[in-house]
Subunit: 240 residues, 2 copies
């Protein structure tokens, strides 16, 4: 059985300039693995309309589901919503349902729904809104693309809203064995194991610590009995 | 003046499965910014040959320089070198210069240069080697693509070797002002500032902390006087 596929598009100069270390990709990758959706590709692009439009089109046609992060706030560099509309040839303007959410929120807080904030109600015509329990301004979904905020607390809340609506496959199970030997010593037997368990994924993630080499061997698959059998064989091949 | 452009390709299931949080992208982004090379795009793909080949081709033709990370070790899931050769229609086999490096290293350590380790001497014919002071097995460069290890200590050492060989532009200078008000309150004046300083990049990176909203405004550019003038105007627009 093949799991559904997904991709992520991270929009924002702050990652590409090295100012900020990514948190949203790491969060989404972990959540998708839990529900049996295979994250196949991530792209990070800058706040540049042609780059965003091209990436949305490419990922949307290549994978089952696409998640975007960033660029839907009120400031001049927030251009994601307009780019999504352009990618899907959709019309975009301030939408009444999004405006009503924002109006109620700012009325409650005694703040003005000014032109800048109203930009956050710009939503493509065909989109459905994604609830934002943290700061109200909604994300939205157009076709297979879920458009979410870049602020990690808001991104995570939106992911939690979206994930239960998606059909995952069997959750990907994994077992890890740490082997305190260099990859060059273990690669031969490991390749044999991988060949014997072609239905599983067998990955080797080397590390170096205090001048010594080792590797974490990760066995992944959907069938618990097979994963367990492979782990047993792996332990037998590399007794401690 | 436009800075040279770069892209990065991260190869490895461990990032996409959420097992590992990226470190190499964050490191490279910061180093490139320091030397005035604009990192324009990052892609993360799995240990899958067609995906790697397609990404290498796309990034290599679109950007001035490409850096890859991961997949050049001795285990069965290390397929990057063969994919690079395929992307550039180059021949690949164990190369004498790389083999000699490995042979000397393993002789010194009393270890065997077995078939698995010899895989790390598979280098495309047209490549030049990248020194690996940490664990010897070299990276390599084909055309505008620099192929480096995924283990962060090795990746960083290879980046340190490569960067002085590249021609950067003027280093990108940046000034950051933290404003403890929501983006909706500052977006209007900020857009005016960005319009007045069209030669600079003015980014707003919102945060939420202890239930309060704020944003870090980052002004970036190559002309110190202009960046400084914009910062002065920004502070005047948002007195503390």
């Amino acid at each position: 059985m093949t799991n559904p596929t997904a991709a992520m598009l991270v929009i924002g100069d702050e990652i590409l300039s090295g100012r900020t270390r990514d948190a949203n990709m790491y969060h989404l990758a972990g959540e998708l693995t839990k529900v049996g959706i295979d994250l196949k590709e991530v792209r990070v692009v800058s706040d540049d309309a042609p780059a965003i439009v091209a990436a949305v089109k490419a990922l949307s046609s290549a994978y089952g589901t696409v998640f975007t992060s960033g660029g839907i706030g009120p400031t001049h560099d927030d251009i994601t919503a307009d780019c999504i509309a352009a990618a899907f040839d959709d019309h975009i303007d301030v939408r009444d349902d999004a405006r009503a959410l924002l109006q109620a929120h700012y009325d409650r807080n005694g703040q003005e729904l000014n032109d800048a904030r109203l930009r956050m109600a710009r939503i493509p015509d065909s989109a459905t809104l994604i609830d934002n329990p943290v700061s109200i301004a909604p994300g939205f979904t157009v076709q297979n693309v879920h458009v979410m905020a870049g602020v990690p607390s808001v991104f995570q809340a939106m992911v939690a809203t979206i994930l239960p609506t998606l059909s995952g496959g069997a959750p990907l199970l994994s077992e890890t064995l740490r082997i305190d030997r260099g990859e060059g010593d273990i690669a031969g037997p490991l390749a044999n194991l991988a060949a014997s368990y072609a239905d599983l994924s067998v990955g080797s993630y080397p590390f170096q610590k205090d001048g010594r080499y080792g590797s974490n061997i990760v066995i992944r698959g959907q069938d618990a009995a097979r994963v367990s059998a492979a782990l047993t064989d792996l332990k037998a091949a590399f007794p401690t």
